[in-house]
Symmetry: C2
Subunit: 346 residues, 2 copies
């Protein structure tokens, strides 16, 4: 590596090989990010391929870090990490472990990004495995949902941690000073829910979070809570449903507008797209509870989304996201969380 | 009662006291329904109040059935049934038990409608408690989601029953002859899911349903499956989220259109409303697995939705919905479903 990490304000390892449109779009995203001269992008990937995509005059704040192999969405992350020790995502996470980068950014696979982070950097005290959370609805850009699908069958105490990590997210990325935490359930009354959420409700009530109780599906787009906590199974379905719904509404309206001879404008369609399209708005989501900064973006990200994911990583670096997560966790872990009941597994 | 049940093709007991706008809107809905002379509405409620709302010339195909008390959404259904034995929902269900009505229709509470049905009519063989299912998205009017929230922490075998009952729904109300059944999960691969869905996947694969495997949130609006099976916790959140999203999108667009000086027309807003508004489109949903016909509508239903719920009950009567559910259940119950694993409670 030709540049010192201390030379730049932000040193970002970008997994150039991750995502559906890699490396063409990751290279474009990296070049966009390099237009900010305080940003140093460590572009991790197949050197030959990257050189073919890069301009003859490579920006001085872009460094190629060679890697071999890619871990794909369809592979089991742990197995793949063993058989591909020099895969781009592992090399990216290692850049952070070695202090050569302040954060790593990948468009997937999420599982590999998580596994690489846990192995290279570890998790914060009290966190079993990282979670993924953030706003998922363009219409509610400051409503954070945790977990978006990193694990299922969560223990009630994990849901409490999701609340804590969501609070750190909300403070750093949404600038909300005392985020309201809601528990996603099937009724507003305390007693409503399944076994997992009823137990989690009790734990959250005893925590020092700003817990406002249960919120229902109808409340999600209504700014009732800043942080909404749910099992990763539910969060993943909600996130993907929103994506599918956005696509389907826009397709439907396209036909409707054709039939009605353009009563509405294309700008309206663009508005609707913004309301539901996760990737275009937020770029990605940081791994919550990791002892380091990793932003994971949507597999279908194009260069603009990749650039936004890099921007998100820069915010996390600047605002000391890991320190804030650690502080928030210590507040709740100081409290004694009672036992978890039977719902378990993780 | 002045009219014989055999005099009319459809005899519908309508809980006039159920729903947020009862009895004014239930009376209006009943009058609309009575414009069909093959339909006899037994309007169950507070006689004085009903008489004040009805015209002097009550249609000959409308009969007032007096009741006392109402069971509200906030009450525990079983407790309330004990303390209010003549509540409108109980009297309505009893009309069916006594053979004086072919179906009962209520705008809620859902819990009370279910409890009254179970006590009065019982459940079909193999069904522990009724479920609620149906299309929940105007955009996908033929995609049936079961369960929409009648119970949580479902055993995997209950999810199989949801598939069976959803098939009966799809055949009767969507006219689909061999409905494709999908299991809502967090990945398309068989192994993806939580403990409940992985076990349910195995049971569904062994059943004689037309099981197409896991479907993801993104697939819901894309006509990938005709019947989508999920835990009531997930279904309820999805249904209510859709409702909230529809409201929020329309509110947002209203502001957008104001700002852009009416680039799009009101008709577009109406289109969007149709795409997401459950109550206006479908009127209600039948209780699945009940040994009798009950259609439960949305608490916020107005007269048109109430009339549609009555129409749905009429379809169920005409197409022998209970017989079809019984036949479908017998096909699967004939198969031996293996044990359910630990995830339990119902």
């Amino acid at each position: 590596m030709s540049k010192s990490a201390t030379e730049y304000k932000y040193n970002i390892a970008l997994d150039a090989m991750g995502g559906d449109y890699a490396p063409a779009e990751t290279v474009s995203g990296a070049l966009e990010a390099c237009s900010n001269k305080d940003t140093h992008v460590l572009l991790v990937g197949d050197e030959d391929k990257l050189l073919r995509l890069l301009p003859a005059n490579i920006p001085t704040n872009l460094t190629i870090i060679p890697s071999h192999d890619v871990i794909y969405e369809t592979e089991h992350p742990i197995d793949a990490m063993k058989s591909k020790p020099n895969a781009s995502i592992l090399v990216s996470a290692n850049m952070v472990r070695q202090g050569l980068a302040d954060a790593y950014v990948s468009m997937g696979s999420t599982g590999a990004a998580m596994a690489a982070g846990v192995v290279s950097l570890g998790t914060l005290p009290g966190v079993e495995r990282p979670a993924l959370g953030g706003p998922f609805l363009g219409l509610s850009p400051n409503t954070v949902l945790v977990d978006l699908g990193t694990s299922v069958d969560n223990r009630p105490s994990q849901l409490v941690n999701y609340g804590v990590l969501g609070v750190a997210f909300s403070k750093i990325f949404c600038n909300i000073s005392n985020p309201r935490v809601g528990l996603l359930s099937v009724g507003s009354e305390d007693s409503k829910g399944n076994r997992q959420t009823r137990e989690a409700h009790s734990l959250l009530s005893k925590s020092n979070l700003n817990f406002i109780g249960n919120v229902e599906g109808i409340d999600i787009p209504k700014d009732k809570a800043d942080v909404i906590v749910c099992d990763g199974f539910v969060g993943n379905i909600l996130m993907k449903f929103t994506e599918g719904l956005g696509q389907a509404v826009i397709e439907y309206l396209g036909k409707y507008l054709d039939a009605s001879k353009g009563e509405a404008s294309d700008s309206l369609i663009q508005e609707l797209n913004k309301l539901t399209n996760f990737a275009e708005h937020f770029g990605g989501a940081p791994l919550l509870g990791l002892n380091g900064i990793c932003v994971v973006g949507h597999g279908r990200s194009r260069s603009r989304a990749i650039m936004l994911a890099i921007e998100m990583a820069k915010t996390a670096i600047e605002k000391q996201f890991v320190t804030v997560m650690t502080e928030e966790l210590s507040k709740v872990n100081g409290h004694n969380l009672v036992s978890d009941g039977e719902n378990n597994d993780g």
